[in-house]
Amino acid sequence: MSGSRSARKSFVTPHMRNIPRSGIRDFFEIVSTRKDVISLSIGEPDFVTPWHIREASMDALDHGATAYTANHGLLELRQAIAGYIAAGFGATYDPRTEILITVGVSEALDLAIRAVAGPGDDVLYHEPCYVSYAPVIRFAGANPVPMTTGVDSQFRLTAGMIESAITPNTRVLLLNFPSNPTGAVLPRSELEAIARLVVKHDLLVISDEIYIELTYDGPMNSIASCPGMRDRTILLNGFSKTWAMTGFRVGFACAPPEVLEAMMKIHQYTMLCAPILSQKAALEALRNGDPDKAHMRSVYAQRRNFIHGRLNEIGLPCLLPEGAFYVFPFVGGFGLTAREFSLRLLDEENVACVPGTAFGACGEGFMRCSYATDLDNIKEAMRRLERFVGRLRPAAT
């Protein structure tokens, strides 16, 4: 008899086997077994893509736009992006050689890491952070080096933290501000201090700026506009959050020509191009979507005020997030881990929030609540959370 299945060696490579599944995925599977859940676990806008943007895509389909585009993406769209980045974020890029349209920022991040980091290279990034950073760095064979941020720095990264993490192997610094899951934003002065450090140590920055348009209290700052940074930054941005276009899967990367060319090669051989209908929609968003983004930003800002106020009233202290659409309250005061707190909240009140540990070990004691959902849902979720915390409190004292 031939060997049983369990005795057979695995077909999967050891380095893939060793990459853990996303903590979010894990939590999703628990939530998806339940009905009538109020979910504050959703990392995408609750708005439907504005009508004129959808219409641009339908119109393109009507006119037979069903083919590949250039690998870099539609030139018209790249030109529009060059104008958008120059006007809004103070960095200029040549649309022919320095801008690449990708399948969301997720693809762009993978391309960026693979283009500039490999075995033996350290990539610095800040935690708590988006779930894909460490795995994507590992896919490239590079070494992910997390830097821990916490409430004491308002979850901001500082030049000092980076300086103490730099080693001779450090090649790349990965930034994500405004940050998922904390909503932290870096002030211009800190970005400039980081920029000086990056220049001094001859590093490259990958800046994931997908939430940059959801900056509520001050100007939107891109590190690419800091002195000396344009030629050592890969700027990543997209349309998913700003124009509620997650399902269109369209993002972009701006980088100096040599780096962009390397990213383009991977994109060319693996993805070919972003879907043409999504690129057409993105072009319409850039041309005529300013009122939509302003409207959505003001709605998010009001919900942010509301949920921040309620969480603090309930006794779950949280900072006022300056960007993105998440709050990150402290839930560690009840003798429960973040995961235990989230699971009991789900079990007892049917409210889903992602435990902070899904975003790095230093997320212990915290929970991510997304306010990219209807205000009525937020109100009801807060009511249930208040009841839940009310039950925990006597036990904790």
């Binding site: 939530v31 859940v37 959703i42 609750d46 005020n305």
Partner: protein
Amino acid sequence: MDELLKLLRQNALESPENLARLLNQPVEEIRARIARYEADGIIRGYQAIVNEDRLDLNRVRAVIEIKVTPEREGGFDKVANRISRFPEVESMFLMSGGYDLLVFVRGQTLQDVAGFVSERLATIHGVVSTATHFMLKTYKDQGVLMFTEPTHERIQVSP
């Protein structure tokens, strides 16, 4: 328009406490501002937006274009004020273009509205002509869609 008015236009039932949280202002301040808007006549009332097509009221709504001769003193206002007082008239506007007044009216039956136009409107001194259009179906009213958009389920947890 200020944010408080925008929020009230979206949902006039929102509590002052919640408005205060949304706008990050003290609740007393919100109450005072609403009172001021009411006193100044900026807020003129609070109504539910009802989809009457769903109620089987068998009521008729019409839009009437009216041409009038402006009066030497008071221009259009005099005749407009007179017309606007009829309880049948729901909304009314002075317009540029091919006619002068646009009037939204409501009646129990088609005959009702026809009678209102021929016997009461057309006979007013200064009214030169009328053109009546009956409404067949409401798709959107006061910024609110009267049909429910299909919702696309979002996944419950996403990164």
